[in-house]
Each structure stands twice: as C-alpha cells, then as structure tokens.
C-alpha cells in the first residue's frame, strides 16, 4: 500500500495537445483490465445518454401484436403486449444507470466522509463511527431494503437511490478508515503535525490524495452493489413497475412467463446488459486493485521458468534486493563438465567435515539483469567470486550495489523480472563427492535437494521470513522433512539441539514468530539455517534490523557457531566494520561489479579502491576505537544507462580522464599479496599510493 498515489486524476497540462498526449500515455499505462472495464462502462454511459433518443418506438405504447420474434422492424422482438424490446432496453439502461451511479456516488461520499473522519479524528470519534460502520456492515442489506420498500416509502427513483446509498456505504468506509489511520501514523504526517501545520491542510494536501485511489475503488464497488440491488428489487416488483429500467423489463418478462413461452428475446437482452455493465465494473475494480497492489500487476511472466521447482509468482519485484527466480538457464547452456546426476544426488556419507581451504563455491562471469518495461537494469555485472570451506567471506556495498541480488541469484531465488544473463556457479560439496555441480544448470529437483542441506540462507528480516501461522519448531522440522528421513524423536532432538546452540530457551520452541523478540526471531532463523548442517550459509544483513546490543550478541554467536561447526559464510552487509571483525576475506561491490577483493587485513589496512576507502570511513567500528566518520557524497550509479569505464568516477576524488575510457578489470594490488585485487588502476600507480597513505594517517 505504499504507492497509492496513482495516475487516476490527470494533472492539468500546459498545452491542450500536450495534455491530450499525456492523457493518452497515462491511459496506455493503466492495467489492461482497467482499460477494458473503463471502455465497457464508457460504451454503456453513451447508451444511457443517447439511448432514449435512438429508441425506434415508444416503449410504453402497444404498437404491434405481441411476442414477435426478432425481425428487421423489431431487432429484439416484441413483448407480450406488443412493445418493442429494443426500445425498452435502450430507455431502461438510462434509468438503471442513473440510479446506480447516483446511489454509488452518494454512498461513496458517505463512505469517504465517515471513513476519513473516523481515521483522522481518532479517539472517541473513531470508536463511535467505526461501531456505526460495523453495525451497518453486519446488518443484511437486501432484506432491510425490502423491508424499507415494503412500507411504500420509495415510489420514486430518488427514494430508491437514497435507500440504496444508505445501505451501500459501510464497506468503503471501513477501507478508507483503515487507510487514513495508517497514513496518519506515517512519518510525513506526524512530521507535519509537529511543525504545527494546520489540520485542514494536512487533510487536503496529505490524506485525501493518498486515499484517492481507495475512494475510486469504493465508488466502483458501490455502483456495482447499487446496480445489482436495484435490478434485484425491480425484478421482485418492489420498485415502481411502470417505470422502465432493466430490472422492470425482467420483472414483466418473468411475470408474463416469457421464457416458458419461448420468448427469450424479451428476457435475455436486459439481463445481458446488466451482466455487461457489471462485468465492466468488476474489471475496472480489478484494474484499480492492480494499480494499488503492484504485486497483482501482470508484467511478463519471465522467460523460461527454470523448471517447476516452484511456481512463478511475482513478476514485479517490490523489494529491490530480493528479486524473483525465473532463470533463463537453458539459453545459456552453462553445464559444467563432469557432473552426472548420480554424483550430484549422492547420499551423505561419512563426516560432514571437509578439508580446510577446499574450494566450495566458484562464481564465474555472473551477470543478472532486471528486465522491466522501463528498460533493463544490470544489477550484477560479470562477477567472479570464490568461497572456501570454513571461510567467512564478506560482501559489502551500499544498497543497490547488487550484493543481495548476487547472493540470491547464486541459489536461484530470484523472481521474474530478474534474469540470469550469463555465468556459472560451481559448487563442490560433500553431496557431489567433490565433483562440480553448476547450480545454474541443475534440474529443479537437483536444486531442491541441494538447497538448505548444502546452501542455507539467513534472511534479513526474520519476522518476514518466518511463516507467521506456523510454530517455530514446526518450521525447523519442515526443513528436516524436506531432506532427510528421521524418526519423530530424532527430529525433536535435532531441533532441540539447534535451539540450545543459538541460545533460545526450549520452552519457546512452540511459540509463533510474533511471540518472540526481534533478536530471538533472528536466532530462530539461524537455528533453522543450521538444522541440516549445511556447507554454506548465506547471511543477508542478518543483524541490520536489530539494535546494537543484540546485534553484537548475534554476531558473536555467528562467529562462535561458525568456528564450532565449520560451515562457510557469505556475509552480506553494508557495514564494513562488521566484516573487519569477523570476515576472512572481503569483497566490495559497486554498481553491480566487484571492485575490490582481498583478505580482511589487507582490505582494512591497505584498501586499494577509493570506494572501499570511502566505505571504511563511513561506519563506526563496532568494537574498535573512535574515528572521524565521513559519508560518501553523491549517489549510486544509474544502472539503466551505465557509463563506460569505472562506475565510481562521478563520486571519486582520484578520478582521472582515463577512468571513463578503460574497461574495468581486477588487477593484483601487490606482488606479495596473492588474492588482493582492485579495479582502480589510478590508486595502484605509485603516485596515488602516497596520497592514500597520507590520507589514512590524517583520518585515524
């Protein structure tokens, strides 16, 4: 519900032609359902306006003999008493539409008024208005309508309109109240209140534009409700039967047994008209839903689905870092040599201990692109990365640098607009008996087997990553059940062991996620990740959502568990100081590329890329001494239109003219330090070295 300010109301343009073009462009950008529904409704509005003038006959006069089948003279035949059905329908459409739209508009006004008032005024007002709304919501509307009409109060269309709107408002009022309330709690309005901005201005400038789309939804819903109620009442003969509306035509057709007499042309057209108007309204509402809830929007379904390991769901990625799966593997045909199915699915044998410093994961030439209608975003560009057993590799960078996309991409957890363009992710684990498995090329079933038992993930927000309606212990057992066959006792024992390891009291095992504190949830997440004793644990900013004290506790625990159990960690963070404390090696990413890799000591003491250096200065050390902090001026690069050369140039104080010309490549920093590479040729030159040393001295 974040971007509710949608393109419903066109802004006034400077020139008429320009605004028309903009309007057209906006129309094209609306979801197809909204356009289809809007078109149907527009057509019926035209019928309602001009229909009565087009009617070939007076619908009330009996001109010809009754029950004639459709003919050229009477396109839809005639009724029992010889009236022209087409004329009746044309005239009746107007009456039905006028009542439905008027009642819908009135109900929407009431809903908006009551909903906004309840949400905005809060307190006692909210209590009483909400009570009123809820009471009306549970009272059965149609029986109440019938009761009201039975007392002959509504002999006119106006009366019916009023009664319909009286009963149509509560649903919308409830929606609008909830939205207003959440807006009121949002930062910008709280801020506005604090600056003493007048309430009326807040209401007009902040709240109403943001509930606008909801009001539109309410209007469409109310009209839909009004039209079906009006037609039903007319059909029951509870509205004046002498006034033509689509419902009264149906009433007379039914009373005179049109269907039994075979006169379908009398009964079917008015019903189809109502159904079409209703379908237009439903479609429009679905389209509006898609505008409000971007997850429902139908963009492309992603190219190949990468098999059916799980169903494609969410083509539009809301969270920038966590994208969708759909991997176009087949197209790249990256199949590692020497991997056969029997090897990759070999059962676990022997001890989980692997020899130290064995190469576990090798990423080569990895590129991921988000393909949206607005253009392609190269989120990860040509990345090489290795992970050895028992090692903690830190992956650092600002948000948007591509570090999370890289991590999720290598276990194929990305969703549709993200497409893996190129690369290989070779994994050599115990399951494959030392042979290589290309994670990007293996089948969905093979992948499912490797997941969690070999590569587990600790997600950034445990609150969101844990199933809210499942007990914590059951979520751990779920992971066990998917991979190994264990008896009930063994499973419970395993879960208890892990729960003990991460320091959660055993009596919390049966809790639901929402019953635990933030730190506790993250511990559960870690316990869950370790429940199958994986080789690799990917940790995506596992502590950023926590306060500093808890953060430290959990980090220490991770280090402890890691040295005890010996799994390798790929640790994603924007905080280099965290990595300085725990990582074996650090890789720094910028603009989708790895710009520097090296051992932690090398990276902290001799950073060879200006971006690494800037990152080091922008965070306080968790454990270390105080030093002056400095932000990084400028903002991350636009990955839609990457400029040639080094992406950091616009923010770099060492940038030279050559930086924008030479393609980036990782170069060894010094002959002595194997594995320390940087993509900055300027700083690697002897003159820059001097500048760098000097700078470090002055800042520390």
């Amino acid at each position: 519900m974040t971007s509710v300010r949608v393109a419903l109301v066109p802004k006034e343009g400077a020139s008429a032609a320009g605004s028309r073009r903009r309007l057209l462009a906006r129309w094209r950008r609306l979801p197809i359902k909204a356009r289809a529904g809007g078109s149907i409704l527009a057509a019926f509005c035209i019928v309602a306006i001009v229909g009565p003038y087009l009617a070939p006959y007076d619908p009330t006069s009996d001109i010809v003999s009754g029950l004639q089948a459709p003919s050229v003279a009477h396109l839809l035949g005639t009724t029992m008493t010889g009236q022209d059905v087409l004329s009746e329908v044309l005239v009746g459409t107007r009456a039905t539409m006028v009542v439905a739209f008027a009642a819908g508009a009135l109900a929407t006004c009431m809903a908006a008024l009551i909903g906004v008032a309840a949400g905005f005024l809060a307190g006692l007002w909210d209590e009483s208005l909400s009570l009123l709304t809820n009471v009306f919501l549970v009272l059965p509307a149609l029986p109440l309508l019938i009761v009201l009409l039975s007392y002959k109060s509504a002999d006119s269309s106006l009366g019916i309109t009023l009664v319909l709107s009286m009963l149509g408002w509560p649903y919308g009022a409830r929606l609008i109240r909830a939205q207003t309330l959440s807006l009121r709690r949002r930062d910008f309005i709280t801020a506005a209140r604090e600056t003493g901005e007048r309430r009326r201005r807040i209401l007009w400038a902040e709240i109403l534009p943001n509930v606008g789309s909801l009001i539109a939804v309410t209007f469409v819903g109310s009209v839909l409700y009004a039209i079906s109620a009006e037609v039903a009442l007319a059909f029951l003969g509870l509205t004046p039967t002498s006034q033509w509306s689509l419902g009264t035509i149906l009433y007379w057709a039914q009373t005179e047994s049109a269907l039994q007499l075979g006169a379908w042309w009398w009964f079917v057209p008015p019903g189809v008209f109502v159904a079409l108007i209703g379908a237009g309204l439903v479609l429009l509402n679905m389209g509006l839903d898609e505008l409000i809830n971007p997850r429902l929007r139908d963009t492309r379904r992603g190219t190949a689905t990468g098999g059916r390991s799980w169903r494609p769901t969410d083509p539009t990625v809301v969270a920038p870092d966590i994208a969708a799966h759909s991997i176009d593997v087949a197209r790249h045909g990256i199949v590692s040599a020497g991997v056969t199915r029997s090897e990759s699915s070999a059962p676990v044998t022997g001890s989980p201990q692997v020899e130290p410093s064995q190469l576990l994961l090798e990423v080569r030439g990895f590129s991921i692109t988000y393909r949206s209608t607005g253009g392609a975003v190269g989120a990860v560009r040509d990345v090489d990365l290795t992970l050895h057993s028992g090692e903690i590799v830190g992956l650092a960078g600002e948000s948007g640098s591509g570090k999370s996309t890289l991590a999720y991409g290598l276990c194929r957890l990305l969703r549709p607009p993200a497409v893996i363009e190129a690369g290989s992710v070779n994994y050599r684990g115990r399951r494959s008996g030392g042979a290589r498995v290309d994670l990007l090329a293996c089948s969905p079933d093979e992948l499912r087997e490797l997941r969690w038992s070999e590569v587990a993930v600790v997600f950034q927000s445990a609150m969101n990553a844990l199933n809210p309606v499942m007990r914590v212990s059951d979520q751990l057992i779920d992971a066990i059940d998917a991979h190994v066959t264990l008896g009930e006792d063994a499973k419970v024992e395993r879960v208890e062991r892990l729960i003990d390891l991460v320091g959660i009291p055993r009596d919390r095992m049966g809790s639901y996620p929402h019953e635990l504190s933030g730190g506790m949830r993250q511990r559960v997440m870690i316990a869950m990740a370790l429940v199958l004793y994986p080789e690799i644990v990917i940790m995506d900013e596992p502590t950023t959502a926590l306060d500093v004290v808890v953060q430290r506790e959990i980090l220490s625990q991770i280090i402890e568990l890691q040295s005890e159990m010996g799994f390798a960690v790929l640790f994603i963070t924007h905080d280099l100081s965290v990595l300085a404390e725990m990582a074996t090696r650090i890789a720094v990413m910028y603009g989708g590329r790895v710009v520097e890799v090296g051992s932690t000591t090398e990276m902290v003491e001799r950073p060879a890329h200006p971006y690494t250096r800037a990152l080091l200065r922008s965070f306080p050390s968790l454990w270390g001494p105080k030093r002056a902090l400095a932000g990084i001026p400028g903002s991350p690069p636009d990955l839609r239109n990457p400029s040639p050369g080094c992406p950091f140039v616009p923010r770099c104080k060492y940038a030279a003219a050559s930086c924008t010309e030479v393609a980036m490549s990782l170069l060894p920093v010094s002959a002595g330090e194997a594995g320390h590479v940087s993509a900055c040729p300027v700083m690697l030159s002897p003159s820059a070295e001097h500048v760098a040393e000097h700078e470090i001295e002055t800042t520390s």
Binding site: L131, N134, V135, L137, V138, L139, P140, A141, L142, P143, L144, I146, V147, Y151, S153, L224, V231, A232, L236, L250, Q254, L259, Q260, F267, V268, G271, V274, A275, L276, I277, G278, A279, V282, L283, M286, L296, R301, R308, W310, R311, P312, T313, D314, V318, I322, R415, R448, E449, S453, V457, F459, A465, L466, N467, P468, V469, D478, Y512, H514, M528
Partner: protein, 327 residues
C-alpha cells in the same frame, strides 16, 4: 479478555440496532400501517386488529417510549406477534418451520462455493498466467450476472426443457414433510438446482479474492524462505502460501454473510423454495407487517450469529489474533 468483552459488546450493539430499526421503521413511515393492512385484510378478526394496534402503536397504548419498552420485553420473551394471513398462528412458529430449509440449503451451498472458489483461486495464483488462470474473465462475467437471471435461464434449460431437475418448490407436492426416506429424497432432489445456481454465481467472487490474496502472499519473504529450504512445491503452495492467503478471505466470508442471505432470498423466490426468503417476499407483497418485522429481526440475528461463529473460527486459524486477546 478485554478484546472478547469488546467484541461481545459490539454484537449486543448490533443486535440492539437491528431491533430498534425494526421498531422505528414502520412508525417512521408515512401513512398508517394499520390502515394499509385493514385495506389488505378487510375481514380481519377483532382479536387480530387489537394485536396489530398494540404492535404498531396505533391504539391508546401510551407514549412511544412505553411502546418501545414493551416491544423489547416481548422480543426478549420470544414473542414476535401474530401472523395476519394465518391468524392466529404465532409468527415465530411459522418462521421456525421455514428456517431449516434456508439454513441447510443456503448454508451448504455457501460453504461448498467458498471451498471450491478458494481452491480454484489457489491454483489460479500458483499457475499464474496459465490457461486456467486466463479463464478468470469468464468467472467475472458469471459473477456480474444478476443471480436470478442466470438461475431462471438454468431452470429453463435444465428443468423446463431437459427435465433433469424439478422446476420449483422444496419437495413434491403430495408429500408430507417428515423424517421418512421419500421426503428426504425428494427434498435433496429439489435442492440440487438451487444449490447449483448459488454455487455458480458466487464461486467467481471467492476465486478472484483468493487468487489476488494468494499472489500477494506468494511475494512474501516466508514463501521465498520456504523455497530456499528446498520444500516440495505442494508444501510451499499449501502450508506457506494458501495457509496465509486464506485468512483475509476468511474475514471476508463473515462480512459477506449479509450478501449470502440476500442471494438466498432471491433464490427462494425464483424456485418457490419454502424458506424464510420466500416467506419474507410473500409477507411483503401481501402487506403482512408483523411477519415482515419478525423476519427481518430473525434474519439480522441469524447473520449476527453466523458472524460471531466466523469470528471465533478466525481466532482459531490465526495465532496472531490470540495474542492480541491475551494482551
């Protein structure tokens, strides 16, 4: 406990509102209801007339407040007045004999529709963009079609022309209602087409709602973590996706009960089915006001009761609401 007390207070308030509306509506209407009824029933017995006058406050029964008080007392004693068309049968006993028809047929049809729609919605979302998902517009059209229109077309086709089902009523005319096989068989046979029409027209709404909720849910992190855990697709779909997506659908179920009742009412008119809906319709068309009043009250209270049940079940299926109560 505080939460439960609040909810109970809400239901008491809603019941009070229904009762009060029921009291004031006939009095607020222009014209004298009793006169209208006198015109409708010229041979009304003196006893009925007296009862009517008391009920609608026409006689010398004291102030409005006084009338309201005795009305409340009557209702608390289950005294809903005397029927005019079948004088002197109490309204409550007529309603009691029709209520089971509506409850059984409409109740089971609604539950079937909800389950079926939910299931279809789950699959539509899981196989998003598939051929099945693309059938949605068809369901939308069905959903937008007026219930009675579709029902009458189906009756014309399946009952009048093909003779698969009986056209009208709840059981064969010759039978006496009771717990014997002939009657039960006949009642079941008669209920098939009405139930089918209810399911066909309402399943699309449930399906659409569930599909959209499911799509939203499948975008959640816990579904992603289920995928990362290497769970079987079916497990992800049901235990992680559908299990969470059904909660709002469940909440919608309780608020749509009012609509369900409305649909039932028209269904009973179309099929001349012997339930409360037909009773209400007949009472309205024959100006049988005591019956109208009593039926509205019964229907309102039934909807409130169903809401309460739905709310209790919701607490059972969503652990988060339980904590809110404890707090």
């Amino acid at each position: 406990m505080k939460h439960i007390a609040r909810r109970l207070a809400f239901y008491v308030a809603a019941a009070w509102a229904a009762i009060t509306i029921n009291f004031f509506v006939p009095r607020a209407m222009p014209g004298n209801a009793v006169d209208a009824m006198m015109a409708q029933f010229p041979h009304l017995e003196p006893g009925a007339l007296k009862a009517l006058e008391a009920e609608f406050g026409v006689g010398s029964d004291g102030s409005l407040l006084h009338q309201y008080g005795s009305y409340l007392v009557n209702i608390l004693h289950g005294n809903l007045g005397t029927d005019l068309t079948q004088f002197p049968t109490p309204v409550s006993s007529i309603i009691a004999s029709t209520l089971p028809w509506t409850l059984i047929l409409v109740g089971s049809a609604t539950v079937i529709s909800f389950l079926l729609g939910t299931l279809l919605g789950i699959f539509a979302a899981w196989r998003r963009g598939s051929r099945f998902d693309n059938l949605m517009p068809g369901f939308i059209f069905l959903q937008a079609t007026p219930y009675f229109f579709l029902a009458l077309l189906l009756v014309d086709l399946f009952a009048a022309h093909l003779h698969y089902f009986p056209e009208q009523r709840g059981y064969d005319i010759g039978l006496v209602p009771g717990w014997h096989l002939n009657f039960i068989e006949s009642a079941l046979y008669h209920s098939l087409l009405p139930a089918l029409t209810i399911v066909i027209t309402s399943v699309g709404g449930w399906m659409l709602g569930m599909r959209n909720m499911m799509i939203t849910t499948l975008g959640e992190d816990y579904v992603l973590s289920a995928v990362a855990k290497g769970l079987a697709p079916r497990r992800i779909m049901l235990a992680y996706g559908a299990r969470n997506a059904i909660l709002p659908s469940f909440a919608a179920f309780s608020t749509s009960l009012g609509l369900v009742v409305s649909g039932a009412l028209i269904m009973e008119v179309v099929f001349a089915y012997p339930g409360v809906g037909l009773l209400l319709y007949n009472a309205v068309t024959s100006n049988d006001y005591p019956m109208v009043q009593a039926l509205f009250l019964i229907i309102s209270l039934a909807v409130l009761g169903a809401n309460l049940i739905a709310e209790v079940v919701y607490v059972l299926v969503d652990p988060r609401t339980r904590t809110a109560e404890a707090a």
